[in-house]
């Protein structure tokens, strides 16, 4: 169970895994996620289901190395198994024909954006996709996304690929170009979602963001994932992960995401040291 069937390197430090999880694959809708645990000592982390193959019973997750658990995950290969995979969790995206939809994915957040964008396209929307990253090497799922997007843009902070600048620069261009946009979707760093939402608010365009809060159970049992939306407390794992971008308190989200910064660093350093020591032994 939970065996890794395939692994692809998408970019520096970003891997795609295909995992055997037939029950989850059967049920999953775009926007939903799983919680995984690698081994007995492991922590539980949420990961978006980027894609599924229902016939084969496979789910796809995309993981960027940001700490110990994701680093460890990156060392696993096809044939290895994860100890726990549970899902599909969270509310599915509300997908319908809105008209013109702009989907914005920032960094590894594009893996979250990808299935939603695809769902929107399948529902008959005119789909414009903007994928942004710090630099060329961090752009993921480019070809796959291009395939179903009606318009496709890339931005990089350093200008090494696509347009130099931020995703919001590209969005602004579209907005100023006078295009009628019915819905904007954004998934990526909290700060990116914040600025996308500020911009679309000015234009009065409905905006959906996918929040990446810290989670433990993912079933509404602990409350660590709480976020403020429209001044009300919500649990991202069961009420979300998608919310009205104009109502989210992003500053709170960012602060809560930093809760265990020091512990995360400690765990990461300790893990890297262990690997180094092991390397020396061999």
């Amino acid at each position: 169970m939970n065996q890794i069937i395939d692994k692809k390197r998408l970019a520096e430090g970003i891997n795609l895994f295909e995992i055997e999880a037939p029950l989850i694959a059967r049920k999953r809708k775009p926007g939903q996620f799983v919680i995984i645990r690698i081994d007995e000592n492991g922590e539980r982390i949420p990961l978006t289901i980027a894609d599924v193959n229902k016939e084969k019973g496979i789910i796809t997750i995309v993981v960027q190395v940001v700490g110990k658990t994701t680093e460890h995950l990156g060392t696993l290969s096809p044939g290895d198994s994860l100890l726990d995979v549970v899902g599909p969790l969270g509310q599915p995206t509300h997908i319908e024909k809105f008209g013109t939809v702009v989907a914005i994915g920032g960094g590894v957040g594009h893996a979250v954006c990808f299935p939603i964008a695809k769902g929107m396209k399948d529902a008959g929307n005119y789909l414009i996709t903007i994928v942004g990253a710090r630099t060329k090497g961090l752009i993921i799922l480019e070809e796959e996304t291009k395939k179903f997007s009606d318009e496709f843009y890339i931005t990089t902070d350093d200008g090494s690929y696509g347009k130099k600048g931020l995703v919001t620069d590209q969005l602004k261009e579209l907005l100023e170009g006078g295009k009628k946009i019915d819905l904007v979707l954004a998934a990526g760093p909290a700060i990116m979602m914040k600025f996308v939402s500020l911009m679309t608010k000015e234009y009065g365009i409905k905006t959906i963001v996918s929040l990446n809060s810290i989670m433990v159970d993912g079933t509404g049992m602990c409350g660590v994932c709480r976020v403020e939306v429209g001044g009300k407390t919500k649990f991202a794992c069961v009420d979300g992960p998608e919310f009205d971008g104009h109502e989210v308190n992003y500053d709170l989200l960012m602060k809560r995401l930093a809760t265990y910064k020091e512990e995360e660093k400690l765990a990461y350093d300790r893990y890297m040291q262990k690997i180094k020591d092991k390397g020396k032994e061999m």
Binding site: G87, P88, V216, G220, T259
Partner: protein, 473 residues
């Protein structure tokens, strides 16, 4: 004969105390606080039971353990047989012996309590269960003829484990579906290691599996499968033992500051995820210097004693009434006091204060006084106007109670819920408004106890068997 005469003449020994780890030691570790009876103490304690012809104690037990009979076996030093006797109706004796509030169940009705202290039934139960486990392979009762009928049990807390175990004994094919990665419900994620070692929970869950129950973890009913699908897949009945797992927060400014936890999160990190062993285990939990737990129940006591053991320099309980009204078991309050927890009574938070990083750094509290009794019979706390003051702290745990988690329930349109969102079910038969669906434990009563949840599981097993036999709903 001679011995018996002697015994009769002898004065009844006093109720035997259970040795505990020294408070100064135990506040630094997660090892079990209570250390258990020795064989000698157990036999002395058992000798206090007079073997009433109409024992009241049995009626005090929701799963009707044959208490006088098992105690008699202890008197005869047949400890393994005593444990087996208990397991005829209670498949989790080592757990119940540790966490049941016997003082309000079997011991309160023990006839001795009228003239003396009651027999220490719980301590004896714990002793024989541990004795049997230590003595080697735990014997599995012979299996009944397979009935060829399947039952799905949702939730692996005490309610689910009990109904599953009892039905398996009768020959049903039972599968438990559990959302978390480990079975046990509150027993694994809520109750701390120092009160209920997880190895003991694992041992008793293992016994349930050996009875023939299949356990599927990482299964969120309502997400991974729905109850309707169970019926499509050939299950003849479904039991819902979902517990009361939805944490309540206080609707106050600053409630979402970093460092404010629900008791569920705090305890889950420590117990289920083993944060007390960080960084050996990956899940962290930070307690800061001054940790404050809001609430006066057992969950609050477990949280504050966990915070203490995790290294908080100062640990407080904030409770809006006085000590007398605290719902926690007296024993747990005493344990907390002995370990150095500070109790602040008649105060209530009105606001949480944060620093510039968004971390909690204090609270605004208001003083309370006790007014007229409310519906619960306890005197209602009333705020004293103008008595607010600021109180520093860097960790806050909210332990003011839990409610029903709507996750699975919201996918069952025909299931009747009461106004608080709990399942409406018959107390005796556990039948719900949906044909073939039974429910019991905290998801019906709200937060209660392990043994009450087990009582539901026990009664449900009988009702489910009857349903299969008669086909009547």
């Amino acid at each position: 004969m001679v011995e018996k005469k002697k015994k009769k003449k002898k004065k009844r020994p006093p109720r035997q105390e259970m040795p505990r780890q020294d408070p100064k030691e135990r506040r630094m570790n997660f090892n079990e606080v209570a250390l258990g009876f020795s064989e000698e103490t157990a036999v002395i304690e058992a000798s206090r039971c007079i073997g009433c012809p109409k024992p009241e104690c049995i009626d005090g037990c929701p799963v009707f353990v044959d208490i006088p009979e098992f105690i008699k076996l202890v008197q005869e030093k047949k400890f393994v047989e005593a444990s087996k006797k208990i397991k005829e109706t209670n498949i989790l004796p080592a757990i119940c012996g540790r966490v049941c509030p016997q003082e309000t169940q079997c011991e309160i009705v023990c006839v001795l309590s009228k003239i003396d202290k009651p027999v220490a039934i719980g301590r004896l139960e714990r002793f024989v269960a541990d004795y049997e486990a230590a003595a080697g392979e735990v014997e599995i009762p012979p299996k009944s003829e397979p009935k060829g009928k399947k039952v799905a049990v949702v939730g692996s807390g005490p309610a689910g484990l009990t109904v599953a175990g009892e039905l398996a004994k009768m020959g049903y094919e039972v599968i438990i579906f559990e959302a978390l990665h480990k079975p046990g419900g509150v027993l694994v994620y809520g109750i701390p290691e120092f009160r209920l070692p997880k190895a003991i929970v694992a041992r008793e869950v293992d016994f349930v599996e050996k009875l023939g129950v299949e356990l599927k973890t990482n299964f969120v009913v309502g997400r991974t499968v729905t109850v309707e699908e169970f019926f499509d897949q050939g299950y003849g009945a479904v039991f819902l033992g979902l517990g009361a797992g939805l944490p309540w927060f206080l609707n106050l400014p600053g409630i979402n500051l970093v460092g404010i936890y629900s008791a569920n999160e705090f305890l889950t990190r420590s117990n289920l995820m083993k944060a007390y062993l960080f960084p050996e285990y990956d899940t962290p939990l930070r307690v800061g210097k001054k940790a404050v737990v809001i609430g006066g129940g057992n969950v609050a006591m477990d949280s504050v004693r966990t915070a203490l053991r995790l290294g908080a320099k100062e640990t407080h309980i904030i409770y809006r009434r006085s000590r007398k009204e605290m719902p926690a078991r007296e024993e747990e309050i005493e344990n907390a006091e002995a370990e150095g927890v500070i109790f602040d009574f008649l105060v209530n938070p009105v606001e949480f204060l944060g620093d510039k990083e968004g971390r909690v750094c204090g609270m605004k509290l208001i003083r309370m006084e006790l007014g007229e009794p409310d519906e619960s019979g306890r005197r209602r706390p009333v705020p004293i106007e103008g008595s607010e003051f600021v109180y520093n702290c860097d960790t806050v745990v909210i332990a003011i109670g839990q409610g029903p988690n709507p996750l699975a329930l919201s996918t069952m349109k025909d299931l009747k819920l009461n106004k608080w969102g709990y399942i409406v079910a018959d107390i005796e038969t556990c039948k719900t408004s949906m044909k073939g669906v039974f429910a019991g434990g905290d998801i019906v009563t709200g937060e209660a106890t392990v043994i009450e949840a087990m009582g539901f599981g026990w009664r449900a097993s009988i009702a489910i068997d009857k349903y299969f036999t008669t086909g009547e709903w």
